[in-house]
């Protein structure tokens, strides 16, 4: 199976190629398969959204790219960045990639920033480590970077500690840190979830602006389909460790092919439409990752369920150009809308 037409050596090959990736953990309650058999590419300069609920494996997927999975995690498959197989790099080699070619922004900047160090030290560290920049050059570059993420009074901010900044400012500092080495790919895990809604809008618009200006590809992981609709070019929908559907954003929203995507989309109330009497909703709860059903993990909650769904996990197949789905049901969707009416 391939998630894109280009071979690994093609000039326009996507810089990041993930194949048959699995991440699992042994726990007291059995083996937890957090990420199962994932194929996905990140193309140069694209804005990829990955949407899923808690336990869908979306964060584990991101962490595995930078070798940040928990020490006891077992990883299988392949994560290729350019010519390098990231899963086989030692930590010294991985450090050449991390924060440099691929960097990451976390949900809670307060826990990702060192509370004892001034903002300036933390931002310039990347340049001193990866670029061997002089303190003076690094400082000037950091100030420029803070300005480019719209932090007013950047010189003064450099001397402040994280707790002296508001939540939105801290997230801007994180983004400045992540982008200062001009990485090719930026991974962002729920970067706006902990922020107020007006600040979330600022951060999302900042991501778009920076992507347009620097050409950095952005992979944004979120539980919020609304955030995806605002910013992503392409979307992967995850459930129980797998990709259920993957498509360009307009295509995914206009013509969802997976019952889970359809259900997610329709169960969200909207501020821009008259309210329905009831929200279409998905019955049941996501499966326990320690005891996943043998077939499709969504089958127990699916209104299109067939006998085959309980027996065989559907592979992710290209349904039409660029539109991939992992579902046995080939007929039309739309049953959920009818049900709610």
């Amino acid at each position: 199976m391939s998630a894109g037409p280009a071979g690994p050596d093609a000039l326009d090959a996507p810089p990041l190629r993930i194949r048959r990736l699995s991440v699992s953990y042994a726990t007291d309650h059995g083996r937890i398969e957090a990420v199962r058999d994932i194929d996905i590419d990140v193309a140069a300069g694209e804005f990829l959204g990955i949407v899923g609920e808690s336990g869908s494996g979306k964060t584990q997927l991101l962490l595995s790219v930078l070798g940040l999975s928990a020490p006891r995690a077992e990883l299988g498959g392949s994560i290729r960045y350019r010519q390098q197989e990231l899963l086989r790099l030692d930590s010294a080699a991985l450090n050449q990639v991390r924060g440099n070619r691929i960097s990451m922004v976390f949900q809670d900047p307060m826990t990702a920033l060192n509370p004892y160090l001034r903002v300036g030290i933390q931002i310039t560290e990347v340049l001193r480590v990866h670029r061997g920049a002089s303190a003076r050059a690094a400082e000037q570059r950091a100030i420029d970077m803070l300005q480019s993420v719209h932090i007013p009074d950047a010189q003064r901010r450099m001397r402040q500690y994280p707790h002296e900044l508001s939540g939105g400012m801290r997230q801007r500092v994180m983004i400045a840190m992540a982008l200062i080495a001009e990485p090719e790919i930026l991974l962002a895990d729920e970067p706006s979830t902990a922020l107020d809604v007006t600040v979330q809008a600022q951060i999302l618009s900042l991501f778009q602006e920076l992507r347009a200006r620097t050409g950095t590809a952005i992979v944004l992981v979120t539980h919020d389909l609304g955030v995806i609709a605002e910013v992503a070019d392409r979307v992967a929908v995850m459930y129980a460790g797998r990709i259920m559907e993957q498509a360009p954003v307009h295509e995914l929203f206009a013509r969802p092919r997976h019952p889970y995507t359809e259900a997610l989309q329709q169960s969200i109330p909207r501020i821009d439409a008259a309210r329905p009497a009831r929200l279409p909703s998905i019955a049941g709860t996501p499966p326990d990752p320690a005891s996943l059903p043998p077939g499709c993990a969504f089958a127990p909650r699916c209104i299109y369920r067939m006998p085959v769904c309980d027996a065989v996990a559907p592979p992710l197949l290209e349904d039409s150009p660029g539109h991939w789905k992992a579902c046995h049901h080939d007929g039309a969707l739309g049953k959920l809308r009818g049900q709610a009416a």
Partner: protein
């Protein structure tokens, strides 16, 4: 009094000029933080009123003051004509059964060492001690059924439940003593997307069936539009705008309400990308240093000199009550 003068006689709860001030320690001493400032509203029987706003808006503090979990500095809160804020001792305890709370984090709000049956029976032991064991059991079973829990669930412990199921338990515990008013403090925020719609529907069904009055606290405007009849928009402890849900979402009059709506993500890329207006700048200031005049003026694209000088009073503009000097100029 700054809002609609005469309270609606059918109102279950009438709040007038509620002010809540916290004493907070800062470097070198303490300061007074006005978390809720001169807030007035009413809640009719069977109505759901949304309290929306960002952090520091005072929405949760209003709820805590009404439930007497924090002291109010001034104001009245008439519930059936009795001032909740003046009650004490036995009369306060007796009133509590009519006012219940549903929390944001359902698992954290359930005692991990108690079985669900005991969690649900506890309010009955407190408020209806005359019930026999058998009567209590029947009430527990009935409420469990009403919120979609199976009888088998009753013998389990909270940790055996998912977030959505735990929220059903939280709702059942709030409802079992048949309160008239329920404060829902971000009841959906901790839930997964696929569970949110289940719980939203459940709350709405129960509210209709039992003619409950709900104060629905949320930062999620879309959830508010689905769940509420009327909305109060708060910023830094003050009411910016209040209107019926349909009016608010189709013709908001306050620049802050407009900004909130523009910022709320829409799960539709065409609609989302059509409204390409710049997001509101800056962040909510610390309530310790609230701006003079209109508290929103430091972020308001329409602010003029008058806004720094004069606190705008809530006044009728169109079908909304709006606290903005320039509400007439906010176009449709």
């Amino acid at each position: 009094m700054n809002a609609a003068a005469a309270p609606d006689p059918s109102a279950l709860l009438v709040v007038r000029e509620l002010t809540v001030t916290y004493r907070v320690s800062i470097r070198g001493g303490h300061a007074l933080l006005r978390a809720v400032n001169d807030v007035s509203f009413e809640l009719a029987r069977g109505e759901t009123l949304g309290l929306v706003g960002e952090s520091g808006s005072g929405k949760s503090t209003i709820a805590r003051a009404l439930l007497r979990l924090v002291p109010a500095e001034s104001g009245v809160a008439l519930f059936h004509g009795t001032d909740l804020l003046a009650l004490s001792g036995a009369s306060l305890q007796a009133m509590r059964r009519h006012l219940q709370l549903i929390f944001q984090d359902p698992l954290a709000s359930l005692d991990p060492r108690m079985r669900i049956a005991d969690i649900l029976a506890e309010p009955l032991r407190v408020f209806e001690p005359q019930l026999t064991g058998r009567q209590r059991q029947q009430r527990v079973l009935a409420i469990a059924r009403a919120v979609g829990l199976a009888a088998a669930h009753l013998h389990r412990y909270p940790h055996e439940f998912s977030g959505g199921q735990a929220q059903r338990i939280g709702i059942a515990r709030a409802l079992i003593i048949e309160p008239e008013l329920i404060v829902c403090d971000e009841p959906l925020s901790a839930l997964d997307v696929s569970i949110k719609s289940q719980i939203s529907n459940l709350l709405k069904d129960l509210q209709r069936e039992l003619q409950l009055s709900l104060l629905f606290i949320s930062h999620d405007l879309a959830a508010v539009r689905f769940s509420c009849d009327r909305v109060l928009v708060l910023y830094l402890g003050r009411v910016m705008e209040t209107a019926g849900c349909d009016t608010l979402f189709s013709a908001a009059r306050h620049p802050y309400t407009r900004a909130l709506m523009r910022a709320a993500p829409i799960p539709d890329p065409i609609a989302a990308r059509k409204r390409r207006s710049a997001p509101l700048e800056g962040e909510v200031p610390s309530p310790l240093f609230a701006p003079s005049g209109c508290v929103f003026r430091t972020r308001c694209p329409m602010a003029v000199e008058r806004c720094a000088r004069e606190i705008p009073l809530l006044r009728q503009v169109g079908a909304s009550l709006v606290a903005c000097h320039r509400a007439e100029e906010v176009d449709d």
